[in-house]
């Protein structure tokens, strides 16, 4: 049985170009980029090439890209770094209820330090508006953080408008763009974004490398102190294999984004409409059009998400769910609850995320298997019986 990987929002398969760059950085260009000798100089050159490639992907200048160990570090650094740099000016932060935990839990940590955080509610699609952000701003607001695309439901947030509001009020704007970079066109040169987090393994690079974009002139405090790497702003010997791979992956995806997004959007919409028509009482979670090209998130009523995932796994299909049973807590996904879904429908959520290797045949097989699985689980569900009475 051919396995089908539809969990590309969790992580992606490293593409050959990136793997080759990583291997080369491990076996040939293995010097420390801070060293004076030829080995070090070669490593430094590879590092700066990757920086230019990542910068080009988001329309940044090369010197505005600071490599980190991943998206979570970039989020932590942006929020804590900005809060600590600006706490003399104010102690209020605005974010949303649907952020990734890397942002939400960092906000919780800042609250313990005495910062105040406003968590904006979202609409039924998981969207906030620039007006909501503007209304939440106070004289002591120092930072706004709104994700570019939601990791669970794929909804795109209006970050250009939100950034414009922040700019008009002279408040720093950070966006967690971990799910968006490489999958939707972003241009920080043209958009009023001050800080942006990204992660390589979401666009076919290995785990362990990400970056924080810091707009020229924006000062935030360091998160990791030590050596003078990353121009003194992020210490630690650079993870060149992962960074060089991220650079290659960035260059590749930038070149193919338009064509690939059109392909993915078509497959995504085929999967969504197929599931909604073949499985009664199923709903799409997230925005129907303002969503990531590869994200499908549906709730299948009367079925619990983990049971769905196990059944799909046995059919060779890898997916994920916002059910409590898969999160290790008693509550289902905070994103789905914030969108107003009742608990029992949130428990039955299923996320299928497509990627560059996803084929139409795979989508067809999911459309064959999933209705069968849903039917089997519903036949076991007392909720389904009760709904028929």
């Amino acid at each position: 049985m051919e396995r089908i990987y539809l969990d590309n929002a969790a992580t992606t398969r490293v593409r050959p170009e990136a793997a080759e760059a990583a291997l080369r950085a491990m076996t040939e260009i293995y010097g420390n980029a801070s060293s004076v000798h030829a080995f070090g100089r070669e490593a430094k050159k590879a590092l700066e090439k990757a920086r230019a490639q990542v910068a080009a992907l988001i329309g940044a200048k090369k010197e505005e890209i600071y490599f980190t160990a991943g998206g979570s570090e970039a989020d932590n650094w942006a929020l804590k770094g900005a809060a600590h740099a600006l706490c003399g000016k104010g102690r209020h932060i605005v974010t949303t209820a649907v952020e990734h935990h890397a942002v939400l839990h960092t906000c919780k940590a800042l609250e313990k330090e005495g910062f105040e955080v406003t968590y904006l509610p979202v609409d039924e699609y998981g969207r906030v508006t620039a007006e909501q952000v503007e209304k939440a701003l106070r004289p002591d607001t120092i930072l706004v953080s709104v994700m570019a695309a939601n990791n669970e439901v794929g909804t795109l947030e209006p970050i250009a408008e939100i950034g414009a509001v922040c700019r008009a009020h002279n408040v720093l704007f950070h966006t967690d763009a971990v799910q968006a970079v490489g999958h939707v066109a972003l241009d920080v040169g043209a958009m009023p974004i001050d800080l942006l987090s990204l992660s390589g393994h979401k666009f076919y690079a290995p785990k362990g490398a990400g970056a924080l974009y810091i707009r020229t002139g924006v000062r935030i405090q360091n998160l990791i102190e030590g050596g003078a790497q990353e121009r003194g702003r992020r210490a630690g010997t650079e993870n060149l294999p992962a960074i060089a791979a991220m650079g290659e992956a960035a260059a590749c995806i930038a070149a193919e984004m338009e064509e690939e997004n059109a392909r993915l959007t078509r497959l995504r919409d085929k999967l969504i409409s197929g599931l909604l028509s073949r499985i009664p009482e199923t709903r799409l979670n997230g925005h129907p059009t303002q969503r990531l090209p590869g994200n499908v998130n549906v709730s299948i009523r009367y079925i619990e998400g983990e049971a769905l995932l196990l059944s799909l796994d046995m059919a060779g299909i890898a997916a994920s769910s916002g059910s409590a049973c898969t999160s290790g807590s008693l509550d289902p996904s905070h994103v789905l609850l914030a969108m107003g879904l009742p608990h029992e429908i949130a428990h039955g959520s299923l996320r299928l995320t497509l990627g560059r290797e996803t084929t139409e045949e795979e989508i067809d097989r999911v459309l064959e298997e999933l209705p069968r699985i849903a039917q089997r689980l519903r036949a076991m569900s007392p909720l389904y019986d009760d709904s028929r009475r």
């Binding site: 009367y302 079925i303 619990e304 998400g305 983990e306 049971a307 196990l310 046995m314 059910s323 409590a324 049973c325 290790g328 008693l330 289902p332 009742p342 608990h343 029992e344 428990h347 036949a379 076991m380 569900s381 007392p382 909720l383 389904y384 019986d385």
Partner: protein, 143 residues
């Protein structure tokens, strides 16, 4: 994460269904928490002649329902009353700590069904009949 036995009972659950003229029915859990179990008993001459279940829940919830029904089928009421969540979990070669809650639900659903049988037949609850309170209890740490 799950034992082979759990996966077996999840994939091929025993005794799924309903009993139209059940002697006792027990429903526990709630959709908000993500699991509901309903157990139907057919009792004749103090023996559980047939048992069926329906479950909305995760893999462990379905597997523990299946195992619990298998363990009491053909047994006397007295024997069925002795069934514990621990015994169900052990019969499944163990459950992850966070899923012990599911086995407690299975025990509770069975005992609710037995209580329903006693009530319907005007019988006093036997001495020593207790039900766990799965909905408000924290899952035990380890098996």
């Amino acid at each position: 994460m799950y034992s082979e036995k759990v996966m077996d009972h999840f994939t091929n659950p025993r005794n799924v269904g309903e009993i139209a003229d059940a002697s006792g029915v027990g429903t526990v859990g709630n959709a908000k928490c993500g699991d509901i179990m309903r157990i139907y008993l057919k009792i004749e001459n103090g023996i559980i002649e047939d048992v069926k279940f329906k479950t909305f829940g995760c893999g462990a919830a379905i597997a523990t329902s299946s195992m619990a029904t298998e363990m009491v089928k053909g047994k006397s009421i007295e024997e069925a009353m002795q069934l514990t969540n621990k015994a169900v979990a052990e019969a499944l070669d163990g459950l992850p700590p966070v899923k012990m809650h599911c086995s407690l639900l299975a025990e509770q659903a069975l005992k609710e069904a037995l209580e329903d049988y006693f009530t319907k037949n005007g019988l006093p609850l036997p001495e020593g009949f207790t039900k766990p309170d799965a909905e408000h209890e924290e899952a035990p740490e380890e098996l």
